[in-house]
């Protein structure tokens, strides 16, 4: 923990036991020990701080803070206290206090290198760039070490990055940084590689590319050694910026001569050749072509160069793919320019065929060729595929009607052809019968291929796994065309695949997607956890869980998955700051802006905003007015209707939407357009959800304001602004709903394995949207009644009464949309109705909002009623008529109660039906199913059944708790 130096300070010895207790997590003993020590040594400040750490860790934040401030006020300068306070402040998430601490310390000990450097780091942690710059210079004055000087320079760059005004950054911060470095260069004081990197970074940001190039190519550039081809890469970047195509060309040519397998240099080589052709560039007479040597500036040279690479390749010990693919790339570029056949590079079909012969047994062959299939005319697809098939050594066996591969290489080649067939759309044009034949063939090949992987460990994939995946993709096509049984076959085959290859992430991901589509979340949780996704993966693939868990009624699982993600996002902030500081220490300057950008990318993650919002809505749904009051719940979340913490303009979609493999042709694949639309849809839905949350969080702010009639004055003290907030949020919600509806009018269909659609469509179509907005309008009416009083408010009362009535009708309609069997057996196959489940979940949520609004209404009416009763007693007559709103409210509550009971009964009924569903009796009509497959089908159907059962139970239980809260509302 804290430094325990070599010199034995008696205080160190005394403090030792407290450190040990803290290190071992024994906070109580640490506090006791500190108290003991403080009795004897009153001014052993560090003991106080250590005690504060103990207090902080046992949840006594306020005491800890007070104690820490006591010590901090003394402006300590001993190491022990300073370090302990630093630790404490960090645990309190108050890094800004550390800066204060060291500011005081350096004032008292102005020549301490150590304290100055701590001060610098403390500023770095909170991003005080200007103060960092000064602290760095102060350090350099005390101890003229280069790193300190360059910390200061880096701080200037950070000021320029964070400056809102780009002009200021380009005319002030960066030039100043440049001058500071130039000074060191002139004095010949540059020592480290990091310093050169920094110089380069400044010049690059100043767009002084020529100067940057000179640095890299000059003597200073010699220091750039540790990164791979650091100098060359930097030169290349500058040549590109400067459009110095001759140099680009010569350098990439040279690098390709060294390594003809690095794709990026082919791209630069081709780019530059064609640029030079377009510029009609010719080499200067009697001079070197360029700074980097010989330049190619004609198609003939390029063709010759690539052919030479291929000739060279044939001599190499390890086969290289680069040269062959480069040839295809060159053909593509020539075709684009309309001069395809003039250079005798050969026919792409033939070249791809040759490529397949050479590399077909490598798993990457498919992705390599995928890039170039658009060079094939579509009329040649079938011919091309059969040409490939012909050269694969398959042999017919006695047991099987199809020819099978005899070894892994042949299997790999065949797999490549199957993948290409799907890519070329050959399967897509088949009819149902043909497709089923292919599925059977692929599964036969899959099972046969398992032979080769008998010795595979559990952690290894089976060689033939892709056959199974491809068969499932075909079945998915059939399912989307309306073939109900196909989806069960998908699950069956995937479960079978997973049993042979338990580590195959693709099987798991596809199972997750399909189970969710069918409305079964239970198996998903287990599959996902076996993927062992963590850290950044919570952001990139967490959406697979969070989209479905809650909407399918698995509330506990939903909470858990939100928690995992939130823990990751919250720790990001702290972790990245720590490593920004390390980057300063180790001089990894170019990483600093990168780390900051990374932190921002995570902080503005769409998924982060979603789980934050959904988590709070979920907590309210499960707890508010059940275990704790709505008001307390909202307070503990520090929610306020005015506050919007979502960075709407900068939301980043970090979802990995291509985590599932697919081999679909371009026109069926996930496109940029899909991503864009999906982000748009997610953002709209998030806006609706976040506004709902804020509206709910506004309810308690209204309720405890019992206003006397002469409320003109109190109206100004903030209460009326609360209702204004609510009314404005409601308007925003209406606008968000409108744009959501407009969006859905486009009827966008994402690819089945692409981004999952949001819950927005269901929210609109089942009527919960209308219900929820009317509920918030009701809030506004009740508030009006509250401020106007009961007299002369007949019109408002009538309006409220009507709202009650129509709300009951709407909720009943919503309930009607939940009716029906969740799983039914039709024509011998199972059909699930996940939309009924989703509607049920929306019903519960809408009812909960209705009850929160009712309890606001209750809080308004109750005092009126007791006032009236008092009057009644005083006057001792029965002529004081009860205003109609009381009856309306009572009726409303009674009807809500009846409705909820009905829904609970309905759910009970569903449970009985689900339990009674005898899947064993399902005649698995498809006689083509193997015995083995039948076994998996049963497992799959059992899992779905059990999951629905689970959903219905969780929903039912929550609803029962809600029913209990209704009883309290009867006034």
């Amino acid at each position: 923990m804290a430094a325990r130096g070599h010199v034995q300070d008696p205080n160190d010895r005394r403090l030792r036991p407290i450190y040990d207790y803290l290190d071992n997590g024994n906070n109580k003993m640490a506090i006791q020990q500190a108290d003991k020590l403080l009795k004897k040594h009153k001014d052993l400040h560090c003991a106080k701080v250590l005690k504060a750490i103990g207090l902080q860790r046992t949840g006594k934040q306020d005491e800890a803070y007070a104690l820490a401030q006591e010590v901090a006020a003394l402006e300590p300068t001993d190491d022990n206290s300073l370090q302990a306070l630093t630790i404490l402040y960090r645990e309190m998430h108050r890094p800004e206090l550390v800066t204060k601490l060291y500011e005081a310390a350096v004032k008292k000990v102005p020549n301490s290198e150590e304290y100055h450097s701590h001060l610098f780091m403390a500023y770095a942690r909170v991003g005080e760039y200007k103060k960092m710059q000064q602290a760095g210079m102060a350090l350099y004055k005390i101890v003229p070490k280069n790193p300190y000087y360059f910390w200061s320079v880096m701080s200037l760059i950070m000021q320029s990055i964070s400056a809102q005004d780009e002009n200021l950054s380009k005319t002030m911060f960066l030039p100043l940084a440049e001058r500071m470095v130039e000074k060191m260069v002139k004095e010949d004081k540059i020592e480290a590689e990091a310093e050169v990197e920094l110089y380069y970074m400044i010049l690059e940001r100043l767009e002084k590319y020529k100067e940057a190039l000179d640095v890299v190519r000059g003597k200073l550039g010699e220091k750039l050694t540790s990164e791979l081809q650091s100098r060359e890469n930097k030169c290349m970047a500058m040549y590109k910026k400067l459009c110095r195509w001759p140099e680009c060309n010569a350098l990439s040519r040279r690098l390709l001569l060294k390594n003809s397998d690095d794709w990026q240099f082919y791209i630069t080589y081709f780019d530059s050749v064609f640029q030079l052709i377009d510029e009609s560039w010719t080499p200067p007479p009697e001079e070197e072509h360029s700074l980097e040597g010989e330049v190619h500036y004609s198609i003939e040279q390029a063709v010759k160069f690539i052919e030479e690479r291929i000739t060279e390749e044939s001599k190499s010990s390890r086969p290289l793919r680069g040269p062959y693919l480069a040839k295809l790339e060159l053909i593509r570029r020539l075709r684009y320019r309309g001069c395809n056949d003039e250079y005798k590079l050969g026919d792409p079909e033939e070249l791809m065929f040759q490529y397949f012969r050479k590399f077909g047994d490598k798993p990457c062959c498919f992705t390599d060729l995928k890039v170039f299939v658009d060079l094939l005319p579509s009329s040649q697809y079938t011919k091309f595929i059969s040409q490939l098939l012909e050269v694969i050594p398959l042999s017919a066996t006695a047991e099987s009607e199809i020819a099978l591969p005899a070894d892994i290489k042949a299997l790999q080649q065949h797999l490549c052809v199957v993948q290409l067939s799907r890519l070329l759309g050959i399967y897509h044009t088949m009819d149902k019968k043909q497709k089923l034949t292919v599925v059977r063939e692929l599964m036969l090949r899959y099972r046969h291929g398992l032979e080769f992987g008998k010795s595979c460990l559990k952690t290894e994939l089976q060689f033939s796994d892709y056959y199974c995946l491809l068969a499932v993709h075909l079945l998915l096509d059939l399912w989307l065309e309306g073939e109900e049984t196909a989806v069960w076959q998908c699950l069956t085959l995937l479960e079978e695949g997973l049993s042979h290859s338990p580590s195959n992430a693709q099987f798991k991901l596809l199972l997750i997607r399909i189970y969710c589509r069918l409305g079964a979340f239970e198996p998903v949780a287990e599959l996902y956890s076996s993927l062992d996704a963590k850290h950044i993966q919570h952001d990139t693939i967490g959406y697979l869980l969070t989209r479905y868990a809650e909407s399918l009624g698995h509330y506990a699982a939903a909470s858990q998955s939100c928690n995992f993600a939130l823990r990751f996002f919250h720790s990001n902030q702290k972790d990245t700051s720590e490593y920004i500081i390390q980057a300063y220490k180790y001089g990894a300057f170019e990483k600093i802006p990168e780390f900051i950008a990374f932190r921002n990318r995570l902080n503005s993650s769409l998924h982060f905003a979603q789980v934050r919002t959904e988590r709070m809505l979920l907590d309210l749904l499960l707890e508010a007015n059940i275990s704790t009051s709505l008001e307390e719940s909202i307070k503990s979340m520090s929610l306020s209707p005015e506050e919007d913490d979502i960075p709407w303009k900068d939301l980043r979609d970090n979802r990995d939407l291509t985590v599932l493999f697919n081999w679909d042709p371009k026109d069926r694949d996930i496109s940029e357009e899909h991503r864009k639309l999906s982000l748009e849809e997610e953002t709209m839905w998030l806006r609706i959800r976040s506004l709902t949350l804020r509206l709910v969080s506004g309810l308690p702010t209204l309720s405890h304001t019992i206003q006397p009639k002469n409320s003109e004055k109190t109206a100004e003290n903030g209460v009326s602004s609360k209702i204004d907030t609510i009314r404005s949020l409601l308007q925003q919600l209406e606008a968000a709903v409108d744009s959501g509806k407009k969006f859905l009018e486009q009827k966008i269909q994402y690819p089945v394995l692409g981004p999952p659609p949001t819950r927005m469509a269901g929210f609109f179509s089942n009527g919960s949207c209308q219900c929820q907005t009317s509920l918030f309008y009701l809030v506004s009416d009740i508030y009006e009644l509250d401020t106007n009083g009961l007299e002369d408010s007949a019109e408002i009362q009538e309006r409220i009464g009507n709202s009650f009535k129509s709300l009951v009708e709407r909720l009943t309609d919503l309930f009607n949309k939940c009716k029906g069997d969740l799983i039914e057996v039709r024509d011998g196959t199972l059909k699930t109705h996940p939309n009924l489940l989703e509607n049920l979940v929306f019903f519960v949520e809408t009812l909960s909002i209705a009850l929160w609004v009712s309890s606001y209404c209750d809080s308004v009416l109750r005092p009126f009623k007791s006032n009236l009763q008092k009057k009644k007693k005083k006057k001792k007559e029965s002529s004081v008529a009860m205003p109609p709103v009381f009856t309306h409210f009572l009726d409303y509550i009674t009807e809500l109660q009846t409705l909820t009971s009905n829904v609970i009964d309905h759910i009970k009924g569903l449970e009985i039906i689900l339990t009674a569903l005898k899947l064993e009796e399902l005649s698995l009509k498809d006689t083509l199913l193997l015995q083995e497959e039948k076994k998996f089908t049963k497992t799959v159907q059992g899992k779905v059944q059990s999951s629905y059962h689970h959903s219905v139970q969780e929903i039912g239980e929550l609803l029962k708790k809600r029913l209990d809260t209704i009883k309290k509302l009867k006034i």
Binding site: L228, P363, L461, I536, F568, D575, Y586
Partner: protein, 166 residues
């Protein structure tokens, strides 16, 4: 086709196809950033993370390869070999005596590959890699040119428990 570039934070958003393999550990942000902050030149996509550590005086200054990982469909292309060559090259430049790495005992494919690349088992550890999976691991080493007598790779006779590692 493949291309090599130094690892950047943004790559973390795109390595699912590599990291959903059960033998590949997904490291936390702190872990990755620490490598990037300290040894940025050792961090390569595909990917390999490396670092330089140890005492020069005791001839223990060396390169350490962490998590050389390749996506399933890009395996058997010699990418790992390339990664290791890179790290060896950088470690040579930095004057290291040897390069070492930890590999799970059960990962036979990898163990054999490292053997082919000239690595030999130096010692065996009980349960390595983040402690979540209780599995033994080999510490494999390869001497670099500075260690002229190959002193660094003479195997230790006894297995080592995690608590004995400094």
């Amino acid at each position: 086709m493949t291309t090599l570039h130094a690892f950047t934070c943004d790559d973390l958003f795109h390595f699912n196809n590599v990291n959903l393999d059960p033998l590949i550990e997904t490291y936390g942000i702190p872990f990755c950033l620490q490598y990037l902050a300290h040894w940025p030149e050792h961090f390569i996509v595909g990917y390999i993370m490396g670092k330089a550590e140890g005492s020069v005086a005791r001839e223990e200054w060396h390169g350490h390869a962490t998590a050389p990982s390749v996506a399933p469909e890009c395996r058997r292309l010699g990418l790992a070999t390339k990664f290791m060559e890179l790290l060896e090259g950088i470690s040579e430049k930095k004057g290291g005596f040897f390069v070492d790495l930890f590999v799970r005992v059960s990962n036979q494919v990898a163990v054999n590959m490292y053997k082919q690349l000239g690595y030999s088992v130096y010692q065996q550890y009980y349960s390595a890699s983040s402690g979540e999976t209780d599995e033994d691991a080999y510490d494999m080493r390869k001497a670099l040119s500075r260690d002229t007598e190959n002193k660094s790779i003479i195997p230790l006779p006894h297995p080592v428990r995690p608590e004995d590692i400094e």
